[in-house]
Every structure is written in structure tokens, then in C-alpha cells.
């Protein structure tokens, strides 16, 4: 650089002088630390009461699923017909076996609710993982490569959207003799992946037109680099939002199918099974039905709230 010109000295000034506000990048808080969009979202999330309340509930539910013995004594299958037949709740015995009373076979309603969390949460979480993995990979490939793959995927998702969920699930599940948790998970995943695939496809199509993707192509980046470094991180936000919101829906779906008698069945302990059982004694002992139903609703609601909070934090339009 022979001529140290006006702009030179200016630029070095921009780079070097520490104080004036114009030199700082446009960070709002003035600290000027590195702030990724994810950390910004996390910053927002931590202040959202919706997020705090729902995550508290979710942490509790997950703990319940993993360590049920922390919450309830005894076994969910322990039946004492002689002493406990439809014994009404004792509201003051918090977290005791007789807290919410006993069911028609003399089993503790509370204990069964605690142990039922495992099946429901397992179904919810695993279905979400499978659906998100399958859906986003297929959606991403179809969205990125377009052409015949896109047409195929779009028509396929159209077909799946045409199948009423409950009817489809019932048809699939009734073909199995033994309906374990895994069978239910696979059935719901089979019907559920198309939603995520559509979301992923849409997100990828909008991201792939961005200039930074063009810039990476111009540099000669490989397709896998473009997909993994540029497209996926930017298409992830809507996928995560839809996944968390649908998690609650999958839990509800499990309960519904079990209630209808095509999902899980005894001896598996699950909320859906309990609700279905409780239905039989709705006149004499409504609490046997109401308590697990309330828990299902709270669970579904917490995941919906969680998803909502995540969406608020990730949606750039609200910024």
C-alpha cells in the first residue's frame, strides 16, 4: 500500500479505536459479544413465563417416566380387590397410593398414573424423533433437488393427508396381534412423518434461494456441505417448532388409540388404558376416569405451550 489514503486511515480507525458507538457492530446490548441466533433465542426463552412453566411441567413428567418410584410407592399392577375396590380418593394423602383412590380392580389410581407416564412419554418422544428424522431428510432432499423427487414426495404426502389419522391407525394396529409400545410408535410414525416432511420441504425451498447458498455454490462447495452447513441450520427452526408442538399430539394420539382399544392394552400400564378402564366406572367412581384424563391434558398442553414458546423465540419475524 504505497498511498496511505483517507479511506485507509479511516478504516483502520474503524477497526482500532475502541470507544465511539459507531464502531461497535449493531449489537443492542452494547457488550458486543458474539451472539448467535440460537443464543439469542435462548436468551428470549429464558425470560418467557410460558417456557418456564411448560418446561417445569415437562421436566417433572420426564422424571416421572424415568424414575416412577420417586413419586409413588407400590406397584401399578398390585391389585387388592378385597380392601380397595373403588375406594374413593383421600385428597390429603399427597403422593400416597390412596391419593386419587383405587380403581375397579383395587389398584392405586395415582401409582398407575405415575407408571403410565413412561409409555406415554416414550411414545411421544420416540415418534417425534423418528418422524423428524425421516420427515426432514426426505423433505430436505425433495426440497433441495426438486424435480421428480419433489413431485413424488408431494404426491405421497398428499395421499397420506387424505387418510384420516384415526382410521388409518386403527387399520394398521388391528393387523397386529400383540400391540406393544413399539408397534404403536411405528404406526403413529408411519402416519405422522408427512407433516414434518412438508414443513422441511418448504423451509428448504425458501432457504436454498438465499444468496448465501448461491455464494457457497459459487465457491464450489459440495452438495453435502451446502446441505449440512447452510441449508439444514437455517431450515431447522420451523422443523423444531412443528416437532415440539406435535409431540403433545402424539401423546394424545396414543391415549386415544388405547382408549379405543386398538392401542396399548393390559398388562401395559398407560394413560390411555387407564382412561379406557375408568370409563367403565364413570358413574360410581368418576375420579378413576378424570384423574388420568387430566394428566393427559396437562401433558399435551405443556408440550403445546413449550412448542409455542420455542416458536416465539425462533420466529425472526417477531423480532
Amino acid at each position: 500500500m504505497p498511498e496511505k489514503t483517507a479511506v485507509d486511515s479511516q478504516n483502520s480507525k474503524v477497526a482500532d479505536t475502541p470507544v465511539p458507538a459507531t464502531v461497535e457492530p449493531e449489537t443492542g446490548n452494547g457488550t458486543g459479544k458474539a451472539r448467535s441466533l440460537w443464543s439469542d433465542a435462548w436468551h428470549d426463552l429464558r425470560r418467557s413465563p410460558l417456557f418456564l412453566a411448560s418446561s417445569l411441567l415437562i421436566v417433572m413428567l420426564v422424571t416421572m417416566a424415568v424414575f416412577p418410584s420417586l413419586f409413588a410407592d407400590g406397584s401399578p399392577t398390585e391389585a387388592d380387590l378385597a380392601n380397595n375396590y373403588l375406594k374413593p380418593p383421600n385428597w390429603s394423602h399427597i403422593m400416597q397410593p390412596d391419593w386419587f383412590g383405587y380403581d375397579i380392580q383395587g389398584r392405586s389410581v395415582w401409582t398407575r398414573m405415575v407408571y403410565g407416564a413412561r409409555a406415554s412419554i416414550l411414545v411421544g418422544v420416540l415418534v417425534t424423533l423418528i418422524v423428524t428424522a425421516v420427515g426432514s431428510v426426505l423433505g430436505m432432499l425433495a426440497g433441495y433437488f426438486g424435480g421428480i423427487w419433489d413431485t413424488l414426495l408431494s404426491r405421497l404426502t398428499d395421499i397420506f393427508f387424505g387418510i384420516p389419522f384415526l382410521l388409518g391407525a386403527m387399520v394398521i394396529l388391528t393387523t397386529f396381534d400383540k400391540r406393544t409400545v413399539w408397534v404403536v410408535i411405528l404406526a403413529i410414525s408411519f402416519l405422522g412423518w408427512t407433516t414434518i416432511a412438508r414443513v422441511a420441504r418448504g423451509a428448504v425451498i425458501s432457504v436454498k434461494q438465499a444468496d448465501y447458498v448461491v455464494a457457497a455454490k459459487a465457491l464450489g462447495a459440495s452438495t453435502s456441505r451446502i446441505l449440512l452447513r447452510h441449508i439444514l441450520p437455517n431450515a431447522l427452526a420451523p422443523i423444531i417448532v412443528v416437532a415440539t408442538i406435535s409431540l403433545g399430539g402424539y401423546i394424545g394420539a396414543e391415549a386415544t388409540l388405547s382408549f379405543l382399544g386398538v392401542g396399548l392394552s393390559e398388562p401395559v400400564v398407560s394413560w390411555g388404558v387407564d382412561v379406557s378402564r375408568g370409563f367403565q366406572s364413570i358413574r360410581n367412581a368418576p375420579y378413576v376416569l378424570i384423574m388420568p384424563s387430566v394428566l393427559v391434558s396437562i401433558t399435551v398442553l405443556s408440550f403445546l405451550m413449550f412448542g409455542d414458546a420455542v416458536r416465539n423465540a425462533l420466529d425472526p419475524k417477531l423480532r
Binding site: 483517507a6 479511516q10 458507538a21 459507531t22 464502531v23 443492542g28
Partner: protein, 352 residues
């Protein structure tokens, strides 16, 4: 701040004694936005006025507050997050900020109209342009559908849309960018308002179309004897059509002047810097003059004069005292009508 409070006694009062009352007068307007990063002070004490038949250009970069001021005048500011904390907006002497919503709605469109930068998103894609043009007449004047359509065709003719009668039932997307901007102008003019606010009306258009649209706007303004407030960042457009100019920076007016004066002898270092950074023929091969640094963050406007970190003339006083918009005079103290500069060193800038 106290210095700015005196601003209603601005140099604009009493200029041009032969013309009458100002149509629109903005006095000491303050607008702020509450964002997640704090309070952004978008407008910090703006004063200006427009008379009938006059073109005021409000010149500024993004974030200078020029569009926010216009939105506050039109009553289309998003509130919240926006908030008008102080000031008056007088239309024919009446404070619009004190009017009821109903009164303001009646003024809007009928007496004051606005033209936006993006004509495509300002027009409703599901209605034909004729219907949207006619709506003005149906709602405000109570014309029948048929009469409104006839009026719509007349307006389209006025803004020189070829084959208006044949195209009246077309939808916005069937028109080109320049034609859509003409339709916007036709809508703005349909009720013969006293004042038009045009926010970057030609920025989205191509150069050759831009010239057509600006010419049309200027011609119609003369014909209807309207006031025109042109909000833009383009020094070329301003030079072509404006009568007087208000230059905004960080929510304040830093300089005002009649158009010829401003280009000849800027009295504020920011204006001077902008004019100097235009590429000129004789500078070919040399470096362009560039204002150093970046426009300020509105949540953290520098103390004193907001321009001081970028200003080549800045002294200690510039970092502590906010300069008021003071009258600019000739070297010998002779009056310069309609000129003002918010710089501690305006004398050095204009005469030195």
C-alpha cells in the same frame, strides 16, 4: 434537549412572506420505539412545514427518522411499539394528534394522501385496480358503483395510463412497476387532497420509468396546487423536483435550505459530506470522499451532536452540547431566507 425546545421559533417562521398559512406544520415531534434492545429514539424534535404548491424534500438515510415522521403524520405508525412522546402535527392549524380517530380518518385520503415505495404490496391483489380506485369515491363521496368506475377511468387517464377504459378491470399484478406506481398516484390524487406525502415513490423503479413518474407527480402537483412532501435518500431526485429541503440525521433535522442554496453552499458537515461523496467527473480515478464511520444506533445515539463521531470538524463542544437548528446568515450577517443548520460550526462550514 432544552435547545431543541426552542425550535418552534425556527427560521422557517416568516420565510416567504407572500404565501399564506402552512398546510402542514410539524412542531417538536418526538417518536420512540420500544424494542428488545431498549428504547430507539427514532424522531427527536422535528420541525417543518409545507405550504400549498410547495415541494418539501425530506432527505435522509435509513434510520434517520424520515419515514417515521411521515407515518406519524399519516397516523399509520405502529403503536405499540411506537409512541409519540411529544409534539404537535398541525394540519391547517389544527393539531391532528388531538383529533378523534374518526376525524383523522376523514382527513386521511381526503385531505392528506400518501404514496408508498412498494406499489405492489400497497395494492390489494384480489381486487381490480378500478374497484380499488373507485372505492375512494364510493366511501368518501358516496358515489354509485357505476359513477365510481367512470371516475376511476378518468383518474387513470389523468395519470396517463394508456387504454384506461380497457384496463380498468385488470388486477395489480397485470401492471408493470411504473404503471402500478401511477395507479398509486391516481388513488392518492382521487379526492384532490391538499397534501401528498410520497415516501421514496420512485426508489423501486428503473431510471427511465423513474423520470416519467417524477415528471407526472410534479405536473399534477402544479395543476392541483398541492403541497408535496417527498421523502427520499436520493440527492439526484431531490435536486430535480424540490423547492426546499430538510436534511435529517438520527431523528433530527440537521439542515434546512432552499434547494439551490443547499447544493451550492451546504451549512452542515453531514450535508457537505453527502454532496462530496457523489462521484464527479473530474474525480475519476481518484478516491471518493467518504463520510467515515456508520450511521448511529438509535438506541444509543451519541451525546451532543449525533453526527460528532463521523464529523471532520468535531470539537469538544460537539460531544457535549446538542446544537439547535439556528438561522444561517451571510458572512456579513445578511439574511438567508429559509436556511438553518444544527451545527456549532455552521459558519465555518458554509463560509470557511
Amino acid at each position: 434537549m432544552t435547545l431543541i425546545d426552542e425550535a418552534p421559533m425556527s427560521p422557517y417562521q416568516g420565510d416567504d412572506p407572500d404565501s399564506g398559512e402552512p398546510l402542514l406544520e410539524v412542531r417538536d415531534l418526538h417518536v420512540e420505539f420500544h424494542t428488545r434492545d431498549g428504547v430507539a429514539k427514532a424522531v427527536n424534535g422535528v420541525n417543518y412545514s409545507v405550504k400549498a404548491g410547495e415541494t418539501l424534500a425530506v432527505l435522509g438515510e435509513s434510520g434517520s427518522g424520515k419515514s417515521v415522521t411521515a407515518q406519524a403524520i399519516m397516523g399509520i405508525l405502529d403503536m405499540p411499539p411506537g409512541r409519540i412522546t411529544k409534539g404537535e402535527i398541525l394540519f391547517r392549524g389544527q393539531d391532528m394528534l388531538k383529533m378523534s380517530d374518526e376525524e383523522r380518518r376523514k382527513l386521511r385520503g381526503a385531505r392528506i394522501a400518501m404514496i408508498f415505495q412498494d406499489a405492489l404490496s400497497s395494492l390489494n391483489p384480489v381486487y381490480s385496480v378500478g374497484y380499488q380506485l373507485g372505492e375512494m369515491f364510493r366511501v368518501h363521496l358516496g358515489l354509485s358503483k357505476k359513477d365510481a368506475k367512470a371516475k376511476a377511468i378518468e383518474m387513470m387517464d389523468r395519470v396517463k395510463i394508456p387504454a384506461a377504459a380497457a384496463r380498468v378491470n385488470d388486477y395489480p399484478h397485470q401492471f408493470s412497476g411504473g404503471m402500478r406506481q401511477r395507479i398509486m398516484i391516481a388513488m392518492a390524487l382521487s379526492l384532490e387532497p391538499d397534501l401528498i406525502i410520497a415516501d421514496e415513490p420512485t426508489t423501486a423503479l428503473d431510471v427511465t420509468v423513474q423520470a416519467q413518474v417524477m415528471d407526472l407527480l410534479a405536473e399534477l402537483q402544479r395543476e392541483y396546487h398541492m403541497g408535496l412532501m417527498l421523502i427520499t435518500h436520493d440527492l439526484g431526485v431531490v435536486a430535480d423536483v424540490a423547492d426546499k429541503i430538510a436534511v435529517m440525521y438520527a431523528g433530527r433535522i440537521v439542515e434546512r435550505a432552499p434547494v439551490h442554496e443547499l447544493y451550492k453552499r451546504p451549512a452542515h458537515p453531514y450535508t457537505k459530506g453527502l454532496l462530496d461523496s457523489i462521484p464527479r467527473l473530474d474525480q475519476k480515478g481518484q478516491e471518493l470522499y467518504a463520510i467515515k464511520g456508520l450511521p448511529p444506533n438509535l438506541t444509543r445515539i451519541p451525546s451532543g451532536c449525533a453526527f460528532n463521531p463521523r464529523c471532520p470538524m468535531a470539537q469538544d463542544i460537539c460531544r457535549t452540547d446538542i446544537p439547535a437548528l439556528q438561522p444561517v446568515t451571510e458572512r456579513d450577517g445578511g439574511e438567508l431566507v429559509g436556511r438553518g443548520s444544527a451545527c456549532h460550526f455552521w459558519k465555518e462550514t458554509i463560509h470557511g
